[in-house]
Amino acid sequence: MSNLLTVNNLTLATADKVLVEVLSFSIAHGERFGLIGESGSGKSLTSLAILGLLPPAIRPMGSITLEGEEIVGAPERLLGGLRGSVVASVFQEPLTALDPLMPLGRQIAGPVRRRLQREGRDRDRATVKGEVHDLLDQVRLPDPKRLYGSYPHEVSGGQRQRVAIAMGLACQPRLLIADEPTTALDVTTQVEIIRLINTLVEELDIALLFISHDLAVVGQVAERVMVMRHGRAIETGDTQQVLTRPQDDYTRNLVTAARRFDDALEGQK
């Protein structure tokens, strides 16, 4: 099967510092791939590079192809088209990802309209509204009528993240990038968002790049994982394998640390 995303020898550097070094990995169509790393590992920069959203001071070298299109060095015109149609993203903090002054329904309507335009379909109010309602249903938001007119501060953190996911899905991407999507949420909300992401990826048959520092969370989402440290790939493999029988010393330390708190919850100190 051909790959949806191929990252080949990607190096990201500023004028005086290398941030990501000769990174290579690929994600197949419909695959759920996890990126694990502590702060400074370069995991978020990698996701920004895939989205073509790197800050101007960071120069990418190497190659990133999304459905055959080269991202590195591509003009904004091309990147703008890929964002949404092929790749969409959900970030950590839904409060900053959403416009505080715009009702939620209108925020979701933006990308919906773009897709309708792309598909050469009617963009009249009724069509757009219908599509937004379908998306609110899809991300299991209750009472779509009320939510349509609500502002971000009027709904809970978990509901805001559902809205952000709905916006990501509005363009029907082939790859969803979720960068620490549950880190700002309470654990009882986190469990619901993880379940939602898993269900949607399955239902819509899209690929997922799930980025997190939390090994246990990645373990519940990804089929395959890559562990990063200081901008380099340390270990890549089947999730179960990496989280239960890590080969690299650094991964082994992380797994031991994560298990220590797990064991404490089982009453073993």
Binding site: D186, T188, Q190, A216, F261, A264, E266
Partner: protein, 250 residues
């Protein structure tokens, strides 16, 4: 013996909704007590009351058998000799313009603790596993985990009876978090600790007693082992069930 007693404490900010309702629990001397809750549970407000930064509108807090007088400056000076705090963010809790010696000895100066302050600072820095030359450097020269060690050294330098830790390991990377938890464990053998956190795993690793808060109420309190094995309240059960676990090793 009981070091701290919280009795039927109620609190609200301004004329707003009650943030804490009828909170009662005790902290035995020498124990580690975890206050666990999600956002909006009231755990941070409770911590402010325990630090004497706010006074309860109803009920009372006893420290060493005597009521905590948050509005009595002289009382609070003595109280701070006995009670110190470590906060979540080691980047905002250390003054970037001061060298570490000044930061760590600050409680000794402001509390008029007698004795050789430099010697005490050296002891505290050694106790948190940092080298003596740390004292001559500045906060920006240290990583997040090292900064949190410095904040802990500052908290223990005046040899308090009680250390209050507010999400003190939540901002740290996993591998650093484990080492700082180890450090807290070591220090807790010499003093009483109250850990406020949303992270049940960390609290379970550190505390022998747990108080579970939800929307301003205590839903469950007791020994860690009992609560983990046999949670009684539906909220505690759902909280424990929600925590993602590592895949089983087969």
């Amino acid at each position: 013996m009981t070091l701290m007693t919280v009795e039927n404490v109620g609190f609200s900010y301004g004329t707003g909704q009650r943030v804490l309702k009828d909170i009662s629990f005790t902290v035995p001397r020498g124990s580690n007590v975890g206050l666990v809750g999600e956002s909006g549970s009231g755990k941070s407000t409770l911590l402010r009351l325990l630090l004497g930064l706010e006074s309860p509108q109803s009920g009372r807090i006893l420290f060493d058998g005597k009521p905590l007088e948050a509005k009595n400056a002289r009382y609070m000076r003595d109280y701070r000799k006995c009670v110190q705090a470590v906060f979540q963010d080691p980047y905002s809790s250390l003054n970037p313009a001061h060298h570490i010696r000044r930061i760590v000895t600050e409680p000794l100066r402001s509390l008029n603790v007698p004795g050789d302050h430099l010697e005490m600072a050296r002891d505290a820095i050694a106790a948190v596993g940092l080298s003596p030359d740390t004292l001559g450097r500045y906060p920006h020269q240290f990583s997040g985990g090292q900064r949190q060690r410095i904040a802990i050294a500052r908290a223990i330098v005046a040899r308090p009876e009680l250390v209050l830790a507010d999400e003190a390991v939540s901002a740290l990377d996993l591998s650093t978090r484990v080492r700082v938890v180890d450090l807290f464990e070591e220090i807790s053998e010499r003093m009483t600790m109250i850990f406020v956190s949303h992270d049940m795993g960390v609290v379970a690793a550190l505390c022998d007693r747990i108080v579970v808060l939800d929307r301003g109420h205590i839903v469950e309190a007791g020994e860690t082992e009992t609560i983990l094995k046999d949670p009684q309240h539906p909220y505690t059960r759902s909280l424990l069930a929600s925590i993602p676990r590592m895949p089983a090793t087969t």
